[in-house]
């Protein structure tokens, strides 16, 4: 199959307006005859479900949490970008577009990214109208701050809880539609397969997590808004429940998976303390506005620090290496995440790491506290400092924070065209779950923007086009595909429940995470990746022999839920490794040691790799087929990314 991204013709700035005009509309009286299934209720899912219901469609939403509001969008801290140019500092839609394309290391589509920048301004208006309490200035107007990878202040924020407030806004819009009877929400339901009839997605199979009942739901279109797959690394800043299952099942039903190896490692997370650790906690990127990243200049000093013989405060100024400020004078501590992460890793690899494990660098606020006063720093970052103190028992007002990179976001995801439709008709993918807008590296404060752009302002138009095409005829739930898919789900659950071996599912997950982090993490090599592929296969085989899954299906069974998710991660892991292997260049978060500049920066190979790698599932155990969507740049010139 030839991949057609369906990017509209014409000048960049007119593509979306023209496309919206060309999309078919559904007659208002017919809208109530359609049902749309929305899986996942984070920013993308909740905003899409509410917007579609407002238009008149019947919507069903599904989430595995006990409330739509608990989706992991809730945890986003820093902010949301929008090209409002409220600061008069030279921002524009084009600049946001350009920064995002560049930040993504030229591996995203111009058309998509421009549209994202274009609708960013509407998102802020929408959220404010819903009552989202963004930070404000004394004059009563909205405040902004700057974020990594940008030299303008275009980030809107609500203290350190922007994602929470945005999600609560979308959730309130969703609640309104539930009240109106247009949305029916299925909480504590997990999607376990897509029903595809004659090449069209027409339903899903879900498990009621409380009763274990396997249900089918029919709909004219299915929207997957199920977030990223960062938990394949076991330790990540994702929530414990974040998983790839919905996207992976769709992949196995024909949706191509794009750029799976593009994962974002966030530079400012709280370092790991031990094997017991179940997740990593992010410290917002906004901290880099005032915090200075440094490591000791010599291994000797670092060693003394690690042994606790000296304190960080005793290290003289000339013995400190503020490596980001030194190497990137123009952007300093505000370089994009991939660059900051790689430099932290480099410092640690060179024996300059701090903390008892040696796997951390400092993020120091002493200068900011001296310049602004402790109260101002507290007002800006108080909740983050408190969180750091809770977790580490160290007071960041008195001593520098210890930070280390951690898996945070996945740029890869289901391949979608300009309409956000996957390679399966009627199956759409929104937000982090798709691959479309961030290329090989996502800029800070862009994930919230993308999730809401897809849900509020893109899908309401594009899904209408498809629905108008297929017509409002009711979906026939008696089609054998529904029963067959349901049986397949039951079969897999029974297989999982038959596992009564010796090793816990968590243990497999932990080992998979180690493999992924070691070989498919911040630095990747041909040799390491090849090794990882073998290790993952072995681990997967062992899982299906020796794992233990207690309990039965007909009850609330968290072990069973986890087992299903880890089984899917064990398959995805291999695909990520395959993808990383074929992409022999470095770009953004994908750093192949074989491809770097003399200064150790990521070296792209635009001639051979300026494409989207979209993988097609063939059969269990069989290699997947790679399809390439060439990336065409008509407006920006591809250059070596420089933040110096």
């Amino acid at each position: 199959m030839k991949l057609d991204a369906k990017i509209p013709e014409g000048p960049l700035a007119e593509k979306w307006s023209k496309h919206k005009f060309n999309l078919k509309l559904v007659n208002p009286a017919n809208k109530r005859k359609y049902t749309v299934l929305v899986v996942g209720t984070g920013l993308a899912g909740a905003s899409a479900a509410a917007s579609l219901a407002e238009l008149g469609y019947n919507v069903k939403t599904f989430c595995f949490q006990d409330s739509p509001r608990r989706a992991h969008s809730i945890a986003a801290q820093g902010g949301i970008n929008a090209a409002k140019n409220y600061r008069n500092d030279g921002d524009s839609v084009y600049r946001l577009f350009y920064d995002t394309i560049k930040g993504g290391d030229y591996r995203s589509r111009e058309g998509n990214v421009y549209r994202l920048a274009e609708v960013s301004v509407n998102i802020i208006d929408q959220c404010v109208a819903q009552g989202v309490p963004f930070a404000r200035e004394y004059g009563g107007l909205l405040d902004n701050r700057s974020f990594g990878g940008a030299q303008v202040s275009r980030t809107f924020y609500a203290r350190g809880q922007t994602g929470q407030q945005l999600l609560l806004g979308a959730y309130s819009a969703l609640n309104r539609q539930i009240h109106e009877g247009k949305v029916k929400s299925y909480n504590r339901h997990e999607m376990l397969d897509v029903v595809v009839v004659d090449g069209k997605a027409q339903g899903i199979v879900t498990r009621d997590l409380i009763t274990g009942e396997i249900e089918t739901h029919a709909g004219h279109a299915v929207l997957l808004c199920t977030g990223g797959y960062g938990n394949v690394f076991y330790l990540s800043t994702n929530a414990m429940g974040c998983n790839v299952t919905a996207a992976w099942k769709a992949h196995k039903r024909g949706a191509y998976f794009a750029n799976p190896c593009f994962t974002q490692i966030h530079p400012t997370c709280i370092p790991v303390t031990g094997d017991h650790q179940s997740k990593l906690t992010l410290m917002s990127e906004s901290l880099r506005n005032d915090g200075r990243v440094w490591a000791p200049k010599t291994q000797e000093i670092a060693e003394k620090l690690r042994r606790g013989e000296i304190k960080s405060s005793e290290i003289k100024e000339e013995d400190r290496d503020y490596f980001l400020e030194r190497k990137y004078p123009a952007f300093g501590n505000l370089v994009p995440r991939d660059v900051a992460s790689r430099n932290a890793k480099e410092a640690v690899d060179n024996g300059l790491g701090v903390g008892s494990s040696g796997k951390a660098v400092f993020l120091d606020f002493a200068d900011a506290i001296a310049r602004l006063g402790e109260d101002t720093v507290r007002a800006k970052y108080g909740n983050l400092f408190d969180m750091y103190y809770q977790i580490t028992d160290e007071n960041p007002y008195k001593q520098p924070m210890r930070i280390y990179p951690a898996v945070h976001y996945t740029m890869g995801g289901l391949w979608v065209d300009y309409n956000l439709q996957t390679t399966v008709s009627g199956l759409y993918c929104l937000g982090e779950a798709n691959f479309s807008d961030h290329g090989a590296n996502r800029l800070g404060a862009s994930a919230l923007m993308q999730g809401l752009a897809d849900g509020y302002f893109v899908i309401p138009y594009t899904v209408g086009d498809y629905l108008a095409t297929i017509g409002p005829k009711a979906i026939d739930e008696s089609h054998p595909a529904f029963a067959e898919t349901k049986q397949a789900v039951i079969g897999r659950i029974n297989k999982l429940l038959s596992l009564k071996g010796t090793r816990t599912v968590d243990d497999y997950h932990r080992e998979l995470g180690h493999i992924m982090w070691e070989y498919c993490g911040m630095a990747r090599t041909e040799e390491g990746l090849t090794k990882a592929k073998g290790l993952i296969r072995e681990l997967r085989e062992d899982f299906w022999k020796n794992a233990i899954v207690p309990g039965t299906n007909n009850e609330f069974n968290q072990s069973l839920e986890k087992a299903g998710r880890v089984a899917d991660f064990l398959e995805l892991g291999e695909l990520m490794v395959d993808d990383a292997l074929q992409r022999k260049e470095s770009c953004g978060g994908h750093f192949r040691l074989e491809s770097q500049t003399e200064e150790g920066e990521a070296l792209r190979d635009d001639e051979n790799f300026a494409y989207v790698a979209a993988w097609e599932y063939k059969a269990d155990g069989a290699p997947e087929e790679l399809h390439k969507e060439e990336l065409v740049y008509e407006n920006v010139k591809l250059t070596q990314r420089s933040y110096k």
Binding site: N175, N187, A239
Partner: protein, 256 residues
Amino acid sequence: MSGHMNLTLKVWRQKSPQDKGGFVTYKADGISEDMSFLEMLDVVNEGLIKKGDDPIHFDHDCREGICGMCSLYINGRPHGPKRAVTTCQLHMRSFKDGETITIEPWRAAAFPVIKDLSTNRAAFERIQQAGGYVSVNTGGVPDANEIPIPKVIADEAFNSATCIQCGACVAACKNSSAMLFVSAKVSQLALLPQGQQERYRRVQAMVAQMDAEGFGNCTNTGACEAECPKEISLTNIARMNREYFTAKFFKEEEIH
């Protein structure tokens, strides 16, 4: 760097909503001080699974104190002994070696137990569906800066909006009252200009739903505020009362 401790856990186990349930005692040995409370339970669960037993079920997700999924009534207090902290952010250094820790689910008629320590908090959903929103459709809204809001109002609304819907207020309240939660939701929109159009309808609708769910009545003990992991203030309750009585006695808007 960190000490290890041995603990005794008294955990509420209940197979299903219908089951009577009871306490089961477990040993948790070799627990690191750096573990979070939930990581300690993970360790206990790994042991149970290896023995072929059903692990202790408890709700949790983000483990960074923001999703509101985790609960647990630990030694007589929701979210354990520390103030302004969720269970997932509670670390074992807050406990002593050799301690016995009693872990119970939230107790309220409106939050029935699903299994073990996990409860059904759908009542909170329904209260918000009754009116916790501003009725604006996507698109067609004014420019964000056309609605100036004094910083002090925006900050106050934000404070109310930080509620994570965990239900600790209900669990802490001796009457199982949901007033702190409902009032935080009512307050956020009552304070902001965007919420004015539906202000008096909203408070009536949400209070009516709260009553229908079978929560108890507020006696202003302040336990909710003291135990709220996000330190939502009692002022919200006074504000909601004011809004409600104003709506009932002096306004004509009714619930639709």
